[in-house]
């Protein structure tokens, strides 16, 4: 059995939960097993996980207002033991990353974090992930009977495989949380960067924070989330959470626009797994062009408004 933890912050599944179940089903198929999903606390319509391949959804009831790694890992590990899970899958998210290590220790399991491929199981269980900030791919062999994996976002789009699903509720017992959440603040209305499929990012070439209007307009028209290079966040032109790269957020959107960003290796480390990269830079020697799929060598202040217009035309024609 494969067990997937489907995150449901504020009682809602996000795309990442469907990705995890889709991946869980693929892993289960390789192993000739079935896929179960566990939901902790409230979730609107837990049965919809069946669409993505979970034949069983276990709804763990209790007071689980806020995420706590000790509480949640206990609940997941107990269910994993009960149903005899051989593989436990979480998202490589802020919660998933704090669960993976705890689950591995609780279940005496080998773990691989941030995987982006379906395991192979001939003779031994092997799975791949990116290492050295995307500069190489490593294949790990997991030698224990139970395995814990965290799935990196945007690797497998949610796919409907539609199995018959049963939803079982259980009353979960767990230790009381020793961490108290006081406040949670998230940007509303936009997709958070780690989950965004389309990203418009800008750097020091923007000259100053007052010029970001053209970036925000492009992002709105494209339906993208905005990001920035590190110096721009450091000098306070943009909020800290927009900083991508080695020391900031690592992202892998389908489409990444790099506007007025030189393409330093530390910046690339966080974005080079993007599927398609478009670079706008007035310097033909900017290193970013080497990592780009499409390049525009021009002044961004001329070209970005034109690009926005072109997208508006495209949207209108769709």
């Amino acid at each position: 059995m494969v067990l997937v933890y489907a995150e449901s912050p504020k009682g809602q599944f996000k795309k990442s939960a469907f990705e995890a179940v889709t991946y869980g089903k693929m892993v289960a198929d390789v192993m000739g097993k079935s896929c179960a999903a566990i939901v902790i606390g409230n979730a609107e319509n837990a049965g919809q996980l069946g669409k993505y391949g979970a034949s069983k959804v276990i709804q763990a009831n209790g007071t689980f207002e806020d995420f706590d790694s000790q509480v949640f890992s206990t609940v997941i590990a107990n269910v994993a033991k009960e149903i005899g899970a051989e593989v436990v899958i979480v998202n490589h998210s802020s919660s998933g990353k704090s669960l993976l290590g705890r689950l591995a220790v609780k279940l005496d399991a080998g773990s691989v974090s941030g995987v982006n491929s379906v395991p192979t199981i001939d003779g031994s269980f092997k799975v791949k992930k990116n290492v050295f900030s995307g500069k190489a791919i490593a294949e790990f062999e997991v030698k224990t009977s139970i395995k814990v994996l965290s799935l990196i976002g945007n690797s497998f789009p949610p796919a409907e495989s539609g199995v018959d699903v049963s939803v079982d509720s259980t009353d979960a017992t767990a230790p009381t949380a020793r961490v108290t959440v006081k406040t949670i603040q998230t940007v509303e209305g936009t997709v958070p960067l780690p989950e965004a499929e389309l990203v418009v990012s800008a750097g020091r070439g923007m000259k100053g924070p007052e010029n970001w209007g053209i970036i925000e307009e492009l992002a709105t028209v494209v339906g993208a989330t905005t990001a920035c290079s590190r110096p721009v966040a450091d000098i306070g032109w943009r909020p800290h959470h927009e900083h991508v790269g080695q020391t900031g957020v690592a992202i892998r959107p389908n489409l990444y626009f790099a506007i007025g960003i030189s393409g330093a290796i530390q910046h690339l480390a966080g974005v080079n797994s993007s599927k398609v990269i478009v670079v706008i830079n007035k310097d033909p020697e900017a290193p970013f062009f080497k990592a780009a799929d499409y390049g525009i060598c021009a002044d961004l202040f001329d070209v970005v408004p034109k690009l926005t217009e072109a997208f508006k035309k495209f949207n209108a024609a769709q």
């Binding site: 290796i265 480390a269 060598c297 034109k306």
Partner: protein, 246 residues
């Protein structure tokens, strides 16, 4: 406050990544190694600030071979009081976590602080494992921490925002950007570091549950396609019809 800071060594960001002939081992020839930036800039410096404000001690711990001593000495030069190196080749996160937690058990530490992730294997796994071995609360990706007596208020990164939590010591924390400002060791620190204790301990027996069996390099990117700046309709067309991304 008795603080334990986990420090690892990683290839420098700009290092050329290559492997041996059968692609089973990372080729370290010509590679410059540094202290993992998250450990150095954020975990270690925040620990030092706490000690400076409230007294106590900062101990560095590393699981690694003798070649790691240079990086450990740098940590001492930045200001840690002493260091422990568990003398073993770190091959899996769980092995590292097991060794660190065995040591931490005897030390009565108020906090065990690690970096957010190592920049080579990007695991972000070790700290949660230590927390589980020690049965302690774990706060990941802390960007700010205020400590009053034994209560810490910590800001942590979550998807698209931030969460503020409260926790009592002892606990395990992983540190991200914002937690502190990088400190450059000065001459005096470097001289003093030579006399600070660096204790070498042998590891406890533990089998690695995972192992890397092979490496590959990502397939080379095809050459960039330059688009006429006067024709943005063409770019949109390419994204739609060729890249099929919009």
């Amino acid at each position: 406050m008795k603080l334990l800071v986990c420090v690892t060594q990683t290839p420098e960001t700009t290092a050329n990544i290559s492997f041996n002939a059968d692609n089973t081992e990372f080729n370290t020839t010509g590679v410059n190694f540094i202290m993992n930036p998250y450990d150095e800039w954020y975990a270690l410096v925040r620990a030092l600030e706490l000690k400076e404000a409230q007294g106590g001690s900062v101990t560095i711990i590393n699981v690694g071979p003798a070649t790691n001593d240079t990086v450990i000495r740098k940590g001492l030069a930045i200001g840690a009081d002493d260091a422990v190196r568990i003398n073993a080749e770190p091959k899996s996160s769980m092995f590292v976590a097991k060794q660190i937690s065995e040591y931490a058990k005897q030390g009565n530490f108020d906090m065990v602080i690690s970096g957010k992730e190592s920049i080579d294997y990007n695991g972000a796994s070790v700290a949660a494992m230590i927390a589980e071995y020690l049965d302690l609360p774990f706060i990941s990706f802390g960007t700010k921490m205020e400590v009053n007596e034994n209560i810490a208020i910590i800001n942590r990164d979550i998807e698209g925002g931030e969460e503020v939590v409260e926790v009592a010591t002892p606990f395990v924390l992983s540190a991200a950007k914002g937690m502190a400002e990088q400190r450059i060791p000065n001459m005096r620190g470097i001289m003093m570091a030579k006399r600070k204790p660096l204790n070498i301990i042998e590891p406890v027996a533990f089998d690695d549950p995972v192992a890397v069996v092979g490496y590959t390099l990502p397939s080379a990117k095809s050459a960039v396609k330059m688009v006429d700046p006067e024709d943005m309709d063409e770019l949109v067309r390419l994204l739609h019809e060729e890249a099929k991304i919009i």
